[in-house]
């Protein structure tokens, strides 16, 4: 049987990949996907703990996270479309009108 810690380590790795993707990618869509990756890493972590505790709470939490992630995706894509309309670009580095 695979020890629980492996799942947790996988979750941490996935989360870190999400953070790194968020930091280094220029395309808004990819940045956006990185957030989804982080949320899924969290889900994995929740499921692991739920399994360990024999408690269903963590699994319920996962469903809520997935639901919220869907809503977040809808809002995020809408904002990305608004950005594209206003600036005709999806490059994060070019969205910097406001500074200081």
């Amino acid at each position: 049987m695979i020890p629980a810690s492996w799942y947790l380590i996988l979750s941490a790795v996935l989360f870190s990949l999400g953070v790194i993707g968020f930091l280094i990618k220029r395309s808004l869509i990819t940045v956006f996907m990185s957030i989804e990756l982080m949320l899924n890493a969290v889900n994995l972590s929740f499921v692991t703990f739920a399994h360990q505790w024999h408690s269903v709470k963590g699994q319920i939490f996962v469903f809520f996270v997935m639901m919220v992630a869907a809503a977040e995706a809808a809002v995020g894509l809408a904002i990305i479309i608004a950005i594209f309309r206003a600036r005709a670009t999806l490059n994060v580095d070019q969205v910097d009108l406001m500074k200081l």
Partner: protein, 661 residues
Amino acid sequence: MTQHLHLWLIPILPFVGFLLNGMLGRRLPKAVVSTIALAFPLASFAVVARAALIFIQVKPQILPWLINYSDWINAGPLHIQFTLALDQLTILMLSIITGVGFLIHLYSVGYMGHEEGYWRYFSYLNLFLFFMTVLVLAGNFLLMFVGWEGVGLASYLLIGFYLDRDSAANAGKKAFVVNRIGDFGFLVGIFLVLANFHSLDFFAINNIIHSNSGISTATFTAIGLCLIVGACGKSAQIPLYVWLPDAMEGPTPVSALIHAATMVTAGVYMIARTHSIFDRAPIALATIAIIGAATAFFAATVGLVQTDIKRVLAYSTISQLGYMFLACGVMAYSAGVFHLMTHAFFKALLFLGAGSVIHGMSNEQDMRKMGGLRKCLPVTCWTMFAAVLAISGIPPFAGFFSKDAILAEAFQAGSLGKILYFVGLATAGLTSFYMFRLWYLTFLGESRSEDHDHHPHESPWSMLLPLVILAILSVCGGWIGYGRFSHLLSPVIGSDIVSPTEASSGSLELILSIVAVAVAALGWFVAHLLYFKPNDRAQKLATSARGIYSLLLHKYWIDELYHAIFVAPLKFISQYILGWIGEGVLIRGSAWVLAGIASLTGELLRRWQSGNLRSYSGWLVAGAAALLLFAAIYANHLGIWIHFDPSKVLPISINPNAAGH
């Protein structure tokens, strides 16, 4: 009946007037401005009158009547409530403030009719009434202080009302600065009260004092002396009187209301209100008595030779306030308040009369250029004559009763009191002299005016009506008699320590009265000799005693002395020492440092707050990492991770019972 009495209306009504005129007055026609300005004080007076009727006639036994409107400040041990208190003393003060106040508002409609900023004047005047009624109604020291500062503000604004005059601005500044010194003393006194009684409520403090709380005489003396400093500032006593003569730069009705009838008596009111503290501080009492007598005499001597009609009245006010202090100092608080009341009548009348003269003479204030106004200004002339008789202490005018009461009380108050009695008696003679001098110079003889184009004219009815009413009050105001007056006030300011003067004999009082009247008559006689008919006796007298004359004319050089002792060194210090170190180094330096910091952070921010989202996220992650590092180091520092064993963390050892599931 009493529950329908809304005390809060008394201050709030003038405040509404202030708001209306202050915010909209610029755009309103004059008639509306004056209607607002008159209606609200009149309404306030109506509430006061109703309260007076209810309490004096119907149910005097439920005074003092306290209303806690709400908690005001609750900070730790400090609990201060928003309390208005009504008792006999308050009713009397409120009647004077709103009653005389309304008359002076009415007078102002005529007097200020042609002035620029008519609305501004009335909004300030209503503001003054608001603060003054708050001061008097306050149930605790802090609320009183709010009113105290507020009337100072209103006074400052009104002294400096003529915006185009430098002298007015300077006078306002002087009043403000000198009053700050007094306020400092008052504040320290309040802090001492709070530290010793753990309360600022007047009635709670009285209860504590009466229950023999074991507070030492030294404490009472310290509190008393601090409060005296405050009272001296507000009531223009030695050594803080210097602002009042200059305050005459304000419009004359303001001098009548604020700088004669009401605000300047706030110090006397405060001493009477807190008398249970002073009753237990003999040294403080003696200080008040000496300051009062000295001020009374000193200011009267200066008043002998002044030629500006308003200045004479200003010094006379200081002198009369000295009488009130003297009365308080010999624990005859009700005599002080009695004189406060009669003084409010006749001094307001004198100022308003002087205003009428000035108005009629087209802004001439020098008595040497007046004379013969009896024919042109008959109403002003004879109403002022009543006031002159009253202030000189000629029976049966109001001032006679109150002044007589003060002198009698002083005479019966120990050996110090006897000495001060003679000072007061001499002052009475001087007072009578300079007041008749003023009246003779102004109204009798022939006109000495150089301006023959303008004929002095009598004032409109709105100015004469207040004069007549105040004249009636100046005549009858004292007829209640000191005995009944002091009985009326005794629940509030009857000294609660039995004084040795209780068993005074009627014959002694009669003798004292006769002596006082004789001295006043002497003063009148001398004035008559010198000024009734044009002659050079006064001139000769001045030349023969040139030294004294010049000393008095220049007010003992006190302003110059203060300037040399306080102002000049302060100026030197601020200009050369603080100017270089303070402004050059500290202020410019700190401004420079702030500007430097601002531009430096600007530069830093330009890099940090780059506007680039990826760099923001990078900082977020870096920040989280830094926090993690801090937390880890801190936790390690606590010795928690000394036995750090990764295997115990992952996999987590699960104990299903640990969390109760």
